[in-house]
């Protein structure tokens, strides 16, 4: 089943697209959320650039977490493990960035990812989507793998002219400029935002600390 679209919508499982010397390939990206202390673990023979793209994805998600319905302190109470099977195949590059963001958002919110969506694109710390290479090979792999919708960077839309017609007819290809568009296409539903006023929360925490320090621990007479 490896190299094919997932069989059901799952939390934390996202289909990326890789480009190797022998063509394109579906890349299954898995994230798990565990009770923890804010640590990020990555496995799957990942190169340094792919690991950095996971770091950037993670910081971006933390920076918009109230918009995703996740209060920032939640991040200090969980560990996230991102794994990219097959474990013996080296993987690298920044183009799985949008898939990393999507899998992290999915495990944090508990919202499943659509099984028939694949995606490719580098992300910046602001969630902007940067262009990638190997578009043709990646689209062919998506078609072969039974994918219905492929999200590509807007800056790669101009490269669609060179893609064979049968590929463009067999897939719904959606150019995206920001990760928010990715999430709207890939998650089965969008999360509800929570209110979070950083300055107010900090002030409240400081006030609680101060009160505790100043209260005599017992006043008896």
């Amino acid at each position: 089943r490896y190299g094919l679209a997932e069989k059901e919508d799952q939390v934390g499982v996202v289909t990326g697209l890789a480009w190797t010397s022998v063509g394109g390939e579906l890349l299954s990206i898995e994230a798990l959320r565990l009770p923890g202390k804010g640590r990020m673990k990555t496995t799957g023979k990942l190169g340094d650039v792919m690991k950095e793209s996971i770091d950037a994805a993670s910081s971006f998600v933390r920076s918009i977490s109230p918009e995703l319905g996740v209060k920032p302190p939640k991040f200090e109470a969980v560990d996230i493990h991102v794994h990219v099977p097959e474990g013996a195949t080296p993987k690298d590059g920044p183009s799985a960035g949008v898939a990393m963001v999507t899998s992290i958002v999915s495990v944090l919110t508990g919202i499943p990812v659509r099984k028939d969506v694949a995606m490719t694109g580098e992300v910046t710390l602001r969630g902007n989507v940067l262009p990638i290479g190997g578009l043709k090979e990646k689209l062919l792999a998506a078609l072969r793998g039974g994918i219905k919708t492929v999200l590509i960077p807007e800056e790669n839309a101009k490269d669609l002219a060179e893609i064979p017609d049968n590929v463009k007819e067999g897939l719904r290809i959606v150019p995206v400029a920001h990760v928010r568009e990715v999430l709207r296409e890939a998650l089965v539903r969008m999360p509800d935002p929570v209110e979070w006023d950083e300055a107010a929360e900090e002030a409240a925490a400081a006030a609680r600390r101060l009160e505790r320090d100043n209260t005599p621990t017992a006043t008896a007479h």
Copy 2:
């Protein structure tokens, strides 16, 4: 005795199957649970891919721990040591993943592993079993070593056509698609699940912390 099936059912001791340039080999995988702080130690001249497969196995087991009768906070109170003798022989690759999961589950639950079962297969973070190489050599090693049952990845079932009849007659070969099937075959009994409502547990812990902070430590008059 090395290279033969274990003599008795033991907690934490699992028989994997390795594939080297000179043929297949039984691989004894041992895990110990010690009082600790949630650390994982690995020894036995393991390569990076095998170490990552232990990390993935560990995260998967943590993610399903209530189903195994283990409450998540237990993980913060134990260290687990996984060792693969013989210590001077380099070992690598992801195909011992199912054996790693089984040995970790066995030490956490205290349930012994059947001595006459061997297994091979990569695992994903969701517990899915991915195909492996060297099936023929691994099955020959299992037969030579006195193994009765061999668990192989479902996606390798198609390769059984090329396996000599005497091997297939001497072994019970069980294709598996998920680690849950592995545990049912390998453990002498299945653990009883515990209830664990993560959200409720977190809320209760937060409430206890709050009460402690707000209670004046003595109210005397």
Copy 3:
């Protein structure tokens, strides 16, 4: 859009100027502030010298933080992530120092950076700006990218004689000797200083600790 000036003034996003064997290039530098513990994370395939220039920028900013309206304890409550896309391109050198300082000041103060300003220059721990190489190529890249104002080290002003007239006419070029001049040009407004008397703050904190230790936790009769 990569290689062009930003479309709007943003917090934490600064345009630097890189010099490679094939010419100059705009370099987008992004910083994010996250709730945290005073950690600095850097991504984007950065070489050791560029990482050190971020360390130096960070220490300089901390050393003048009251002047920027930021109380020093704030630094222990946030993490800062600096990322330089594109993630697969190696980057190195000290000349993005002034851009690093500017992006860190922007995320700490929440004041946006002017989108049509680019800058280049090494910084010292005192905020002095040291000269850089590749001035001509960097200015050409700024012009191509739609930049209006370029901040260059004062010690490079003598090199302007060799720059083509059309470049000097198309850009406002501002030589700077200290990072304070950079901030005045690059931020949309200057922050208001806060008072911070280090010795007094330390004494007050010590007094609070002492009182807590010496107060009998209950005085009862």
Copy 4:
């Protein structure tokens, strides 16, 4: 005196047997117990495999500690330092495993090791003894060094046929299958076990914590 049997029974000092390109050699292994925090330090130009054999020895000893009269929390209150002189000579391999177990048990229990016993054998996490190479050279070194008793892995007993008669007559050679047999031969006396019911201890500790949290710190009226 180096290369000869020890002059008296000592706590933590064990004689192993090494095999080099120029023959066998006595290997003096020293362990010290210090007040500490559960750390293990190793010195003596040890290779990775020998360091891992010390890790495995340490975990095995912790796993059977009540049987050795040592309560598990003791391990968190001590550091153990294992040193193998001569410090300039590189050493590696797993065959000193039984000697490592013996020296760790000796320093933990304070029971001296017999000065005229030497030993060789890899150990597993369950304390099983695995076969080693260089048996003949090691036995010759033991004889030369004034050793009386040599403990060898049971699986090496078949190799005794090739050992010269004068060696077999000059030494008492004891094949061992498990570390428990090693300890009975090597320690001057066996430790008395302590009772330790892990589940009960954990429950008691949890109860103490709960009571402390729930007791109002003062009940006054």
Copy 5:
């Protein structure tokens, strides 16, 4: 301005002297003191020997801190960052040791360093000054850079015979045997010592701890 003497007396900024294959050079060494936890950060492409010379300088300064008017606990409340621009130029060697000591003392005491003094010399943990190489090239660089006074190791005084007369006439050259002489020449004024009786301080701290532990937290009737 790089390569010239500083324009004003500054806290933490010291002029060292480097010797490269193409001659001598002024080396600007900058230290900053930040609120912190006793950490030392170093940047500027420094080799291991130069980093170790900063470590040694730091330990020496801590060991004499009462003599400098700095109470030892102060060190646990500050971080020190030492940077040597230009960030892209590799630097190494122990001969900046006296400059490192001087910049650390200057930031700890807040006393500026004279702008027209340069210095070279390795330091030991006791503050003794050891000889250096490249004396002639270093003195020439000092003269070119507008330096007035150069501090050199006493053991290099014998090498002054080979220095051209115009150099010796243009500079005040002061041989020094110990860092105390360096500080007297380089700081604009000497710090006032504080009293610090280590044993008494330790005993007082222990007494405070004991009293707190033994006092019933409330005795009420």
Copy 6:
């Protein structure tokens, strides 16, 4: 003055003896004690074997600390820095072990080391002194450097036959088998032991903890 005996008896400064391809050399070893947390820092371009010899020296000293008048908890309250000038010269090997022990004992006890004593010898974790190489070159360096007494390993005494008579007449050469003999020769006086009953201290500490936990923090009526 480098390469000559020290000018006065100092705390923590010990003269070792090195052997290089161009002959023997005096090696000045310096230790400092700083308020701290039990950390050991080493500088001076030391190889791994020399660093390990410092680790072994440190553990040995801790293991006999009551005999030296130092209570074990003292080690958790100090950092020790061992430096071997000249910082640019690589140094390695285990033969400075006895000098390392001596300098650590000197800084812990505050007892100076005799300035006219030099020493060479590897040490084990039990303080036994193992033989070294280059005896002749080391003795010649000691004579040249104005040393009066040289401590050598007892196992090297047999090599004295090959040493020229003028060397043996110019030096008092003392063979030593254990570090206790080294300390008696090298320190200006021996420390007074303190009593330290490890089991009793542990029990008392546990009792204090228990009492604190069980005492209601206030009983008021």
